[in-house]
C-alpha cells in the first residue's frame, strides 16, 4: 500500500478537529481512503431530524478525480437512486481539485434541502415530485421516519 498523500491526511485531520455541524466523516482503520459518513437532514426539509449513513471513497487519483459517494440509508429523493447513488454535478463533470470532502458533503446536505426533479437520477421519484409535490414530500417524510431515525 502506497503512503497516503499528505492532502488526504490533512483533510482527515481537519474533519476530525473541526467537524462540520450536522456532518461527520470517520475513516476506516484498515482503509484510510474509505470513510463512514453521517449527514443530518436539513431542517425545513422532508428529511429533517433524519440521520443518513453514507460511504465515501477517495480513488487513487483523488483530488484530480472526485470522491465516490453513496447513500447507505434508503432515501426518497429525485436525485438519489435506489442504490444510493447521487446525481450531483460537482461529483461528476463539475468536479474541481480545489473542492474537498468537506465541501462535497455540504453540497449533498444542500441537495437534500433543495431537490432538483429536472435533473433526475431516480426517474419515478422525479416524475412524482413534478406531478404531485405534496404527496412526494409526504413519502420522503415517511421514508425518513422509517429508515433514517434510529
Amino acid at each position: 500500500m502506497s503512503a497516503l498523500p499528505k492532502r488526504i491526511v490533512k483533510e482527515t485531520e481537519r474533519l476530525m478537529a473541526e467537524p462540520v455541524p450536522g456532518i461527520s466523516a470517520v475513516p476506516h482503520e484498515d482503509n484510510l481512503r474509505y470513510f463512514d459518513v453521517m449527514i443530518h437532514g436539513p431542517s425545513q426539509s422532508p428529511y429533517e431530524s433524519g440521520v443518513f449513513k453514507l460511504e465515501l471513497f477517495l480513488p487513487d487519483d483523488y483530488p484530480m478525480t472526485p470522491p465516490k459517494i453513496r447513500f447507505l440509508t434508503k432515501i426518497y429523493h429525485p436525485n438519489i437512486d435506489k442504490l444510493g447513488r447521487i446525481c450531483l454535478d460537482v461529483l461528476k463533470s463539475n468536479w474541481s481539485p480545489a473542492l474537498q470532502i468537506r465541501t462535497i458533503l455540504l453540497s449533498i446536505q444542500a441537495l437534500l434541502g433543495a431537490p432538483n426533479p429536472d435533473d433526475p437520477l431516480a426517474n419515478d421519484v422525479a416524475q412524482r415530485w413534478k406531478e404531485d409535490e405534496q404527496a412526494a414530500i409526504q413519502t420522503a417524510r415517511e421514508w425518513t421516519r422509517q429508515y433514517a431515525m434510529a
Binding site: 499528505k6 492532502r7 483533510e11 484530480m64 463533470s93 474541481s96 481539485p97 480545489a98
Partner: protein, 434 residues
C-alpha cells in the same frame, strides 16, 4: 565485545572522506511531505495539494497553485474533455492561455522562510530549518543523511555522523552472544535493542538480564538503591525502594522538599533579577559620571552656592546625584524656555514678514494700475497727434494738385485701412519703448 570476522581492506584516508562530503548523494526532498513546525497563513496553502505552495505559478485569473498541481489538473481535464481550454480549479474561469506566469518573488521568499523539520527526523535528526535551506541541509550537513562509505573499495553508505570514524563500518562482525552477523554500523543497535541472548548483570541485584532489557530492569529492580528525596538538603539516607518509601514517610527533610525547592526557585529568580538591576545601575552610574564630568566646570560657575549648600546638607553620594539631577532639571527647563522663546520669535518674525509683504504687494498693484492708466493716456495722445499730422498732410496735398484723381482715390482707401493698422503697430512699438 565484538570481533571482526572478516575485514575488508580498509584504508582510512581523510581525502576519501572529504570526497564523500563534496559529492553527496542527491536525494530530492519532497517539500510536500515535510512537517511544518509552525502554523502558516492558510493563504499560502495550495488548494489542490493542501500544502504550502511548491514552485507556485499563476493562472490568467490570478489564482496561484503549485506548478505540479496545475500540470496534474490540466492533464486530467485534457483526458476528460476534447476542448483545448481548461478551467481554473478555484474559480472555474476558462483559461485560454496555458502560459502560466511566475508569482512575485516575495511569495517565494515567504515560502522559503517557513520552518520545517528535517525529513530524516525519523532517524534522529533534531534539526529545524527554513524550507529553502532543507535541501542543502540534507545534501551537505545533516548528520543522519546517507553518504558514501569512506572506504574506497566499499560501495555501501554510512550516516554522515559516522564518517568521523574514517573507516569502513561495513565489515561483517558477529554478535558475541547470539552468533548472528551484522555490519559493524548496525551491531551496536542490535546489541542494545534487539539481541535475544546477550546478557549483563544488574549492578544492584546481580541478576542476569538481557542486555536489551537492562535499562528497563534498572528502573524497576527491587534491589536498586536510591538516595532520599531530600539528599540535596542534607539527608544522607540511602536505601532500597521499599525501605526508602518507609523513610520518606518519616523524614522531616523530605517533607520540606517541595517547600525548599520552591524557595530555591524564588531565590534564583530574585538573584537573577538583582543581577539584572545591578548591571543597569552600573550603566546608569557611568553615564552619570560622564555627564558630571562634562558639566562640572559650568556648574561651578553658575550655581556653586546652591550646590555647596546641598553638599553640606546631605551625604556625598546623595548630594552629587541630587545636585546633578537638579542641574539636569534646570538645564532642561532652560532649554524648554529658550526653545519656546525661539519659536515665539520665529512666529513673530514670520508674521511681520507676511504683513510687510502684503503691504508691498498692495503697493505694487497700485503702481501697476497707475502705469496702465498712464499707458492709456499716452496712447490717446499719440493717436490724436498722428491723426492731426495726417489731416494736415492731406489738406496740403489737396491744395497743391487736384489733377491726379486716381491718386486721391488710392490715398482715401489707404487712409481708411491704415488707421487701425497704425494703432496696432503703435502699441507694439510703445511696448518696446517702455
Amino acid at each position: 565485545m565484538a570481533t571482526p570476522t572478516s575485514s575488508s581492506p580498509r584504508r582510512p584516508s581523510s581525502l576519501q572522506a572529504d570526497a564523500a562530503l563534496q559529492k553527496p548523494q542527491v536525494n530530492l526532498v519532497d517539500l510536500r511531505a515535510l512537517e511544518y513546525v509552525d502554523s502558516y497563513d492558510h493563504n499560502l496553502m495550495c488548494a489542490i495539494c493542501h500544502s504550502p505552495f511548491v514552485n507556485p505559478v499563476r493562472l490568467e485569473c490570478e489564482h496561484v497553485f503549485c506548478q505540479r498541481c496545475v500540470n496534474d489538473a490540466m492533464s486530467h481535464q485534457d483526458r476528460d474533455s476534447r476542448v483545448y481550454s481548461i478551467t481554473c480549479p478555484s474559480c472555474r474561469r476558462r483559461i485560454e492561455n496555458r502560459a502560466i506566469t511566475p508569482v512575485p518573488k516575495i511569495l517565494n521568499h515567504i515560502l522559503d522562510d517557513l520552518c520545517v523539520k528535517c525529513p530524516l527526523e525519523y532517524l534522529g535528526c533534531p534539526e529545524v530549518k527554513a524550507r529553502g535551506d532543507i535541501q542543502d541541509h540534507v545534501n551537505k550537513y545533516c548528520a543522519y543523511a546517507e553518504v558514501k562509505c569512506p572506504s574506497e573499495s566499499c560501495l555501501l553508505t554510512v550516516l554522515r555522523k559516522d564518517l568521523d570514524e574514517q573507516r569502513c563500518l561495513h565489515s561483517v562482525m558477529k554478535c558475541e552472544d547470539c552468533e548472528s552477523s551484522f555490519m559493524e554500523r548496525d551491531l551496536e543497535i542490535h546489541r542494545s535493542r534487539h539481541c535475544e541472548v546477550g546478557k549483563a548483570s544488574c549492578p544492584d541485584c546481580n541478576a542476569q538480564v538481557l542486555l536489551r532489557d537492562l535499562v528497563g530492569h534498572i528502573e524497576c529492580c527491587p534491589d536498586a538503591t536510591f538516595p532520599c528525596n531530600a539528599a540535596e538538603y542534607g539527608c544522607d539516607f540511602v536505601a532500597r525502594r521499599e525501605t526508602l518509601n518507609e523513610h520518606l514517610k518519616t523524614c522531616p527533610l523530605a517533607k520540606f522538599v517541595p517547600f525548599l525547592r520552591m524557595q530555591n526557585e524564588r531565590l534564583e529568580a530574585h538573584e537573577a533579577a538583582l543581577k539584572h538591576l545591578r548591571h543597569r545601575n552600573s550603566i546608569l552610574e557611568t553615564s552619570f559620571s560622564t555627564i558630571q564630568e562634562t558639566l562640572s566646570p559650568s556648574t561651578n560657575l553658575i550655581d556653586s552656592p546652591s550646590s555647596s549648600a546641598a553638599g553640606s546638607d546631605t551625604g556625598p553620594f546623595d548630594s552629587t546625584a541630587h545636585h546633578l539631577l537638579c542641574l539636569h532639571e534646570s538645564l532642561r527647563e532652560e532649554v524648554n524656555r529658550v526653545s519656546a522663546a525661539v519659536s515665539e520669535v520665529d512666529a513673530k518674525a514670520s508674521m511681520m514678514v507676511m504683513n510687510e509683504s502684503l503691504r508691498i504687494k498692495e503697493d505694487l498693484s497700485h503702481a501697476n494700475a497707475a502705469i496702465g492708466n498712464m499707458r492709456m493716456q499716452l496712447h490717446w495722445l499719440m493717436s490724436a497727434r498722428l491723426q492731426n499730422q495726417q489731416r494736415v498732410a492731406m489738406i496740403r496735398a489737396q491744395s497743391s494738385g487736384d489733377g491726379l484723381g486716381s491718386s486721391t482715390d488710392a490715398g482715401g482707401s489707404n487712409r481708411s485701412v491704415e488707421l487701425p493698422v497704425r494703432r496696432l503697430s503703435d502699441s507694439t512699438r510703445q511696448d518696446t519703448k517702455l
